[in-house]
Symmetry: C2
Subunit: 276 residues, 2 copies
């Protein structure tokens, strides 16, 4: 039976039962202490675990974070395969197959906690899995527990603001293309470039050309024993960096003259106002 | 003695002692279960608490999150005043005064945990406080504990992705100006507008004009008993909304033709690759 056939059959069966909930459990960027109290509670509840891997026997960053938190991987934890590709056909097939496995598990009535590295809503496979499941079984209950993003953790690690006041923050996977990055730099005060490896040298050249190299920070494998933080970018040229790497770029010269709506009157004092 | 004089005197004194650390403790957007395990540990450590208020007797959202987590406010918790204004002179004076109070507390050797709603690096008063303290006492140890942002929590609450695949995410306080918002919409797939109150009607008109009203979600006071979530924007016209409100705007029509770097070859399989 194909993934799609299996899913359809299981979805039909699911309607007759009281299925479990799918829970997207965000674990944060790597440091197990950055797991939220709710995520930790779900991992230690009766929910079955599911976690993403790129293929049979591959490591799961999400699972490793849970292990570093001192949790033992349950014997029935479900490895779901999501190939590392941009081939839409292969991806769709993988989402269908994973959704079918989830439906089978959920039909038993037990909640299924899908472990997510970082935040489940931010560039995550979980979004595709949840959308596929929702198509197959529209009434399925889905809970998403948000988590700390890698870029919030990166700024905290540097003890530098990510973005302040009325600044514009933009986030983009670097593979999107160098022209897009160049255009975005005109529009934002802080640019976060995720997954920089495919375009690293081009990005470094662009930052050099725009005079921003000194305002960029490079971080990889945050919150793990292999963490690396570079305040300058010199050591990066020509190197190959891991998947879990990012650049934080500040664009301090953007406001030579402050924009009109900002410089003038103070904001009104809202009734429930409170500084953050 | 002015705030600046006090700070200078205390900074000099601090050098002769073993000062405590300043800790920026992010508490997430409102739901106490979204506090990370590290933040909770710091709040239940021997560290003294400090928290921001807009003025004498005002509420502190950050403190309220800690209270909802079941923690009692210690008797010696320090309220620090940050006026709700964009007047740079008034703000600088407030940061100086708050920094002076922090230095006095830190000089005793005890850590000082500054409670932050949301994430301490993202549009937070904490960044200004830390920068002021660093100027006054360059050797001061500062730890920042990252937290869940309001926009990650908003997407989770909706069980919708915030941003997917190679999409561009942009975040901006709405008061920045309607032209900036209009320009940014051309560049991003998801736009988060924070603190929408001052420009709400103009933003609603812009979204209407661009045909994006149906792709916008409004959320206020997330994770509290007063939480409100609107999937359409009809009820908002002409209304006054609270400070802790945001709009999530999806821009689905942006890629009529996919950009060149995306459609073609799959990304290389990095050695430590793992789906998120």
């Amino acid at each position: 039976m194909s993934g799609t056939q299996l899913a359809a059959a299981t979805a039909a069966e699911l309607i007759a039962t009281q299925p479990g909930r799918l829970i997207g459990v965000s674990l944060g960027p790597g440091d197990p202490d950055l797991i939220t109290r709710r995520a930790f509670a779900r991992l230690t509840s009766s929910a079955r675990w599911a976690y993403p891997v790129t293929g049979p026997g591959a490591r799961s960053h999400a699972l490793e974070i849970a292990c570093r938190a001192g949790l033992a991987v349950p014997a029935d934890a479900l490895a779901l395969h999501f190939p590392m590709t941009r081939d839409r056909v292969a991806l769709t097939a993988a989402w269908q197959q994973a959704a079918a496995h989830c439906l089978t598990a959920l039909a038993g009535g037990r909640d299924l906690a899908f472990l997510v590295e970082g935040d489940a809503s931010t560039y995550s496979t979980f979004g595709h899995l949840a959308a596929t499941l929702r198509d197959l079984a529209p009434g399925l209950a889905i809970e998403v527990i948000p988590g700390v993003t890698s870029f919030a953790a990166a700024a905290a690690r540097l003890a530098e603001p990510l973005v302040s006041d009325a600044g514009v923050l933009a986030v983009i996977p670097a593979a999107y293309g160098i022209e897009v990055i160049d255009r975005l730099l005109d529009q934002c005060d802080t640019l976060v470039l995720l997954k920089v490896n495919p375009l690293l040298d081009q990005v470094l050249a662009l930052l050099e050309r725009r005079g921003l190299s000194g305002h960029a920070r490079y971080l990889e494998r945050l919150g793990t024993a292999a963490e690396r933080v570079l305040l300058g970018l010199d050591g990066l040229h020509g190197s190959r960096v891991p998947y879990l790497s990012l650049l934080l770029v500040k664009n301090p010269g953007r406001h030579a003259t402050p924009p009109a709506p900002m410089a003038s009157s103070p904001l009104p004092d809202p009734p429930t106002g409170s500084p953050r």
